[in-house]
């Protein structure tokens, strides 16, 4: 309960800082919180917005599904084989830290403008953190779990399903939380550069037109979605950790 109150407090103080910044900077590039909420509300009701939103949500869902499936699978492949892990991890870490935005012309040349390249861009951003966290989670498991599955003569698949995955679940979920955020930004970036539809496209259009009202409203909606989802995922994560302990 107190954490809900704390969150509310942080959100209110963010609004406060925003309002104060507005007073300090003025009308040039900012809109005050109340105006932005009103703009966001009318934007949601405006014609065609739902189609854009739908498009983005679809791309994001696809990208997240790919990122989670590939990320967890890759993490297990590398985490269960010591040599593969040693070979692969530095490669993963360095790919994770590259400015992936430079790859967008290549993604565009391969997938063309539209849905596939958005999904690819989102998935590229999300896979690495999920893989790295899964790998780390498996490596930190107590060795007795591996020995237990050997004693019980479990097949590889059985030991993954009944022992390793449940034990590593809380930490894998932490990776998913980060992967969620990064897939979202990846999808939006993909839309900003490589699309004619979606929230990212609307944002890029607004940036091009210097339409501050719209930039603020869209950013507000995206940030609101990201924070809400992040808080919900964190609550689930805490629940999982509690269950595991």
């Amino acid at each position: 309960m107190s954490s809900a109150r704390n969150n509310l407090f942080v959100i209110l103080s963010m609004f406060g800082v925003w309002q104060i910044t507005y007073w300090a900077i003025g009308d040039l590039a900012l809109r005050p919180p109340l105006d932005t909420i009103r703009n966001a509300w009318s934007l949601i009701g405006s014609e065609g917005f739902m189609a854009h939103l739908n498009e983005t949500l679809q791309a994001f869902t696809f990208a997240l599904a790919i990122a989670v499936t590939v990320g967890v699978a890759l993490g297990f492949c590398l985490g269960m084989n010591r040599l593969a892990g040693e070979v692969g991890e530095p490669l993963l870490v360095s790919f994770y830290s590259l400015p992936k935005i430079t790859l967008y012309p290549i993604v565009l040349l391969i997938f063309g403008i539209g849905m596939p390249s958005k999904v690819a861009f989102g998935a590229i951003h999300g896979i690495m953190p999920i893989t790295i966290f899964t790998l780390g989670a498996l490596r930190n498991l107590p060795p007795i779990l591996g020995r237990t599955s050997k004693v019980l003569r479990l097949t590889r698949w059985q030991s993954v399903w009944t022992i390793l995955f449940p034990a590593a679940r809380p930490e894998i979920f932490t990776g998913l939380r980060l992967g969620f955020s990064l897939t979202l930004i990846g999808t939006l970036l993909g839309e900003m550069f490589a699309s004619q539809r979606g929230i990212g496209f609307l944002l890029m259009q607004a940036i091009g037109l210097h339409d501050t009202d719209r930039i603020m409203a869209l950013t507000f909606l995206i940030v609101g979605f990201a924070i809400t989802a992040s808080l919900m995922l964190l609550a689930i994560n805490r629940h999982l950790r509690h269950g595991a302990a």
């Binding site: 900012l30 870490v93 830290s97 430079t102």
Partner: protein, 250 residues
């Protein structure tokens, strides 16, 4: 460790070789990507021609400033926030959400505040990097055992002296993680901002080449960015590893 390194190099060579063969045989059309060997040759030619040096200098300069600012401010904020337990706990979910915020959306606002020029791109790089430093500073300080704090008190050390002689050596590797992330995020931020709307810098050169279908300029520049970022990251990764292994020996 040694055979793993050899295998890793072998794997990379194999991938490059496959790309080369696919491209030479025409399975990957030249319009999509030239063979890797040609990209390397083009990069050499591009660098020798001196055409892109100003852009490279610009970009690296901006990245350095953004990164240095992020490390300085991030460490300071991290130390202050960590001091108040409740604040750190309350803020932690928001740090994760922060990465989902499209920072680039604030670019027009930055231009309005900081003017046209390099400052907005530096600020974007800074904004991406600073949170990583804050988060890692907090987690580094969290890992200092209470007995260390007590020891410092027993010896009657001032906070600064304790920080220099006890906390910093202990928290070093975790702080190094923050620095490493700050470097890669300022790369991402600055180059990304250059991509969107800028007249100078490597990011702009890549977009320009892309819009003009100049694959023989675009791919070498992408390779250059990946190599530069990769090298810097690798240096910091090695540094972090060394700090960690030094600690586990003592």
């Amino acid at each position: 460790m040694k055979p793993a390194t050899a295998l890793r190099l072998g794997l990379i060579t194999l991938i490059v070789l496959i790309l080369e063969i696919l491209s030479r045989s025409g399975a990957i059309s030249r319009f999509v990507a030239p063979p890797p060997s040609e990209i390397v040759v083009d990069l050499g030619r591009l660098l020798l021609s001196g055409r892109v040096q100003p852009a490279i200098g610009q970009t690296l300069g901006k990245i350095t400033i953004a990164c240095a600012l992020a490390i300085a401010v991030g460490t300071l904020v991290g130390v202050v926030v960590q001091h108040f337990r409740a604040v750190a706990d309350t803020l932690s979910p928001f740090f994760t959400a922060y990465y989902a915020v499209p920072i680039y959306a604030f670019y027009p606002m930055m231009i309005a505040i900081f003017g046209i020029g390099e400052a907005p791109q530096i600020v974007i790089g800074f904004m991406l990097a600073v949170v990583a430093v804050v988060v890692n500073t907090i987690s580094a300080l969290d890992r200092i055992p209470r007995v260390f704090r007590k020891t410092a008190a027993v010896y009657g050390m001032s906070t600064l002296e304790a920080a220099r002689r006890i906390y910093l050596p202990h928290a070093g590797p975790y702080l190094a993680t923050g620095v490493k992330l700050a470097v890669s995020y300022s790369f991402i931020g600055v180059i990304g901002a250059e991509f969107i709307m800028s007249r100078i810098g490597i990011g702009h050169e890549i977009v320009f080449a892309y819009n003009n279908f100049e694959n023989q300029v675009m791919y070498p520049l992408i390779l250059f960015v990946l190599l530069a970022a990769g090298t810097v990251n690798w240096v910091f990764y090695a540094w972090e590893k060394r700090l960690l292994s030094r600690r586990s020996r003592s």
